[in-house]
């Protein structure tokens, strides 16, 4: 006999999902979802304040994330364009240079190689600077042969590996110097890394802020509804039934906050898009992902808002809803 009762009590919660209880359960959810929505609208000021704070926090962290992502992808492209220039010793034979090129072309760290012979270099220099006459006064072409190495995509932004590659190239026979502007890259990398981490930290702080704001709003709601909760308890409401309207309130606050955040992100994104495009153009970057609202962003904001709303309400319920037993 003990076996039966213990099995029953251990899996008693399953009874909540039996058809006999499922229909009333669904009905109660529908009823509560609607009534808590109505209640939110009955207190427009309180609702607007809470929703506004949630929306601003969500929009801020979204924009920051998007800017960081944009910076990252712009940097990726700039790294790609930062080739390594190898200046060969004067008088190195063309054969040696071609052999060198063949050897490195197969290296997984190298995407492309390009030989610029002294003659090509001279022509380029003349057309570029208009100072051809100075050089033509030399008996011999004073320019070294140059091999331009484009690092593989996967090295983009990885300063340490790039550095190793440059060292290896530098160590090759006939190579006089290998040039890559590390300082510039390092600095840019550091900035992007910083913005990246900043966006995560700020995102976490803002999420915490949302939880606190919602927790406080729900706490006030619990205090306002003390009498109601006691009556519900008295006529046979389970803990869950008492909690449900509060969780739904959190859900609606969060969902509304997410929806308003979508609008905010769209507006700010539109305002930023022109100046950002100018900046990117000046760096010859072709980054497409400007801050703004895409379909995934839209869905993410709603889901994020709603789940933060539910969690905030849940935390508050755990903390403040102990003492509702009628006396």
């Amino acid at each position: 006999m003990n076996r039966r009762t213990s099995v029953k009590s251990r899996f008693g919660w399953l009874a909540e999902f039996s058809p006999k209880r499922l229909v009333p359960w669904v009905r109660n959810h529908a009823l509560v979802a609607r009534s808590s929505w109505k209640r939110l609208l009955e207190e427009p000021l309180q609702t607007a304040l809470t929703v506004g704070v949630i929306a601003i926090a969500l929009a801020l962290s979204t924009l920051l994330f998007q800017l960081a992502a944009m910076g990252g992808s712009a940097l990726g492209q700039m790294n790609n364009t930062s080739d390594i220039n190898l200046y060969f010793e004067l008088g190195t034979e063309v054969r040696s240079i071609e052999a060198f090129e063949d050897m490195w072309r197969g290296d997984p760290r190298v995407q492309a190689t390009q030989v610029i012979t002294p003659e090509q270099g001279l022509a380029e220099f003349e057309s570029f600077s208009g100072l051809g006459s100075i050089l033509s006064s030399f008996d011999e072409n004073p320019l070294p042969a140059v091999v331009r190495i484009t690092p593989a995509d996967r090295l983009a932004g990885r300063a340490a590996e790039l550095r190793l590659l440059v060292q290896a190239l530098q160590a090759s026979e006939f190579v006089e110097t290998a040039v890559l502007d590390f300082a510039w890259l390092d600095r840019l990398n550091a900035v992007v890394e910083f913005v990246d981490r900043l966006s995560i930290a700020v995102g976490l702080l803002l999420a915490l802020g949302i939880l606190l704001i919602l927790g406080n709003t729900i706490r006030l709601t619990i205090e306002n509804r003390r009498n109601e909760n006691v009556v519900i308890n008295l006529v046979g409401g389970t803990d869950r039934i008492v909690q449900r309207p509060l969780l739904y309130a959190g859900f609606w606050y969060g969902l509304l906050g997410g929806a308003v955040a979508v609008v905010l992100v769209a507006i700010v994104g539109a305002l930023l898009s022109y100046p950002l495009q100018q900046i990117l153009l000046s760096y010859q970057s072709s980054v497409q992902t400007l801050p703004g609202v895409s379909f995934p962003v839209f869905i993410n904001l709603l889901v994020l808002g709603a789940s933060l709303g539910c969690s905030g309400a849940w935390l508050s319920v755990l903390q403040h809803l102990r003492n509702i037993e009628p006396t």
């Binding site: 009333p24 009905r27 109660n28 009498n227 006529v235 046979g236």
Partner: protein, 226 residues
């Protein structure tokens, strides 16, 4: 339907509100619970509702020991009982209809069934024409009747009332009592706690008398057996 077996209740602080109380309440009966203020009437009703736990002794509801009722079981136990408690009155942020519908909404009744039963209950207490009003605009007697409608709307087996005529004049009190009698006549067991002895005398119903937490009269329905 209800059996108290040597039940004592001490509140934190040591005050003993009920002392070795034993009685039996037969199904379908209407019983008065009387005694001076502080005699332990409300405490006794709260024990039946599992709002308080007995310190000693056992309480049986339909043969089931209330002590064995887990935290999860309590709400379902309460759904079988209707209560009219003075200090847990109506909610003034919603209509009369919504107040009365509360126990049905909690039980998840179908909307149509809810409306039908709420109107039947309001009809019983003579307030069908007030369903859309906020209870705030009703008189004390009308509010009490809304409370009674809420207590019976889900067809409980047992109706508990704590000083239901507390601040009503004698005429309204008699009206409320007649309502209870009507419910009783259709088979609802009823227990009314009151310190108003005149009410009890007028109705000539069975009564249990409490004095300082002890039963002094009427513990068992067939007293000649004891």
């Amino acid at each position: 339907m209800i059996r108290f077996d040597n039940v004592s209740k001490s509140y934190p602080g040591g005050h003993e509100a009920l002392r070795r109380v034993s009685f039996e309440l037969p199904r379908g009966e209407m019983t008065f619970l009387t005694g001076h203020s502080g005699a332990g009437k409300s405490t006794l009703l709260k024990l039946i509702m599992a709002m308080e736990r007995s310190s000693r002794g056992q309480i049986f509801y339909d043969g089931k020991n209330l002590d064995r009722l887990g935290r999860r079981g309590i709400p379902y136990h309460r759904r079988r009982i209707g209560v009219v408690f003075q200090n847990h009155s109506l909610l003034f942020d919603r209509s009369v209809f919504e107040n009365v519908a509360l126990p049905l909404n909690i039980a998840g009744a179908a909307p149509r069934e809810t409306a039908r039963r709420v109107r039947a209950a309001l009809d019983k207490v003579g307030l069908l024409d007030k369903e859309t009003l906020n209870p705030v605009v009703l008189s004390g007697g009308e509010q009490q009747r809304v409370g009674i409608a809420r207590a019976v709307v889900h067809k409980p087996d047992l109706l508990l009332a704590d000083e239901p005529t507390g601040n009503l004049d004698p005429e309204l009190s008699a009206e409320i009592m007649n309502l209870f009698r009507e419910f009783n006549s259709v088979g609802v067991s009823i227990m009314v706690a009151t310190h108003d002895i005149s009410l009890v005398r007028d109705f000539g119903l069975r009564q249990i008398v409490l004095n300082q937490g002890r039963i002094t009269q009427g513990a068992f329905p067939n007293e000649s057996l004891r």
